[in-house]
Symmetry: C2
Subunit: 230 residues, 2 copies
Amino acid sequence: MPFTYDYPRPALAVDCVVFGLRESSLVVLLVRRGVPPFEGSWALPGGFVRLDETLDRAAERELVEESGLKVAYLEQLYTFSALDRDPRERVVSVAYFALVNPVEHRPQAGSDAASAAWFDVREAPALAFDHRHILQVALERLRSKVRYRPIGFGLLPERFSLTQLQRAYEIILDRPLDKRNFRKKIAALGFVVPTDALEEGVGRRAARLFRFDRAVYAALSEKGFDLELI
Amino acid sequence: MPFTYDYPRPALAVDCVVFGLRESSLVVLLVRRGVPPFEGSWALPGGFVRLDETLDRAAERELVEESGLKVAYLEQLYTFSALDRDPRERVVSVAYFALVNPVEHRPQAGSDAASAAWFDVREAPALAFDHRHILQVALERLRSKVRYRPIGFGLLPERFSLTQLQRAYEIILDRPLDKRNFRKKIAALGFVVPTDALEEGVGRRAARLFRFDRAVYAALSEKGFDLELI
DNA sequence: ACAAAAGTGTTAGAATTACACCCATGA
DNA sequence: TCATGGGTGTAATTCTAACACTTTTGT
């Protein structure tokens, strides 16, 4: 298996924009860099791609290594290639966009990162490299995609109340939604199905919990079902 | 500027899916490979990324080198990274998606390719590497994006009749559209403006020619104008 | 005069939006 | 009993989709 292209090649990295939901804000996972360049700065979790792994695997691996978390949704976002995006040398970065279920994440620093923390996306600190730009692109993708693909569920626990779901959409889209219209829409979709569980431990009437039915959704989208969620 | 990551790294390539419009079909530009692997097979135009160019530039350069054409629209599609996608060694490929104005293209073989030709997307031959898959992804992107972004214009000449525009949409979406409803929609958009030119040399009543007004479109989409084209 | 595509409105049905009150529960 | 969010329907409006004929021009 000859090397057919032995000129210098860019290094290849992945960077992950991990979104979560907290109270009434959308949060993003950042790690504090423990090594130069930008040592001490906040950055998106990420790292170099190995020869024996796909990009998706590299993204998953980096997330586990740097924050110990498992994501509910992961998709490739965009590949960034500005010549000067890394001061060391030429690094092309494939950015990923991930959603985590809020109950499961408890970020903890891994080997590469001095620490990891969640930040409100509106109050993120200065970021290393072109990570501010990547975050911006990820936010746009989230806001547009959430309207026609059921990815919002990736930010919620397995079972959720309709109010929780509505809050998630309101936070992502940054505008209020009408409760009755929202519920009508969700009911019409058919893949958000009631469980027989109710909320527990709330100091008020408990809401019914629903779940996202992957099978029903898959069947619908198979048939070219053209959904518009919100 | 020290090399901070001197492990083996994947080679990085770009591949371009260039769409054009011909009579009543959507066509894609393919090149016949002049070198192994897959020598003699048809493939998407593409090549390795140099250290001193961005991915966008690499895509443009490859298109010029391999086919001598200039594109009206170019966007990054997706980055493909299956471990075995290239039999020689590990190659990660950033795929691009391009549209060319039908009057301008006359593909001609460049240095790397023995020949280049347009193929009806429904009748494309077997392709090298994972290029069939890339083509499939590009087609899906075109079909979905054309419905909410005015990229269809990239497939038409500078000035076009509304019938031409409608045909373009019909070919891309692969379904007939209603003439009156189509024109109502286009008129409502506001950025498809009449010129005072008419078709010439047609053996019938000449249609008015329109053009895509970038400025008006930019102003609208600036204001978060949420357009749904078709 | 005829062939061929250009151009033009209306109406029914569907989808979207706006809007307010009673209910169940736990403290 | 009260505070809190859970849960529910209707009417006006807007958008979408279906549909056919007259006009212009070149041959």
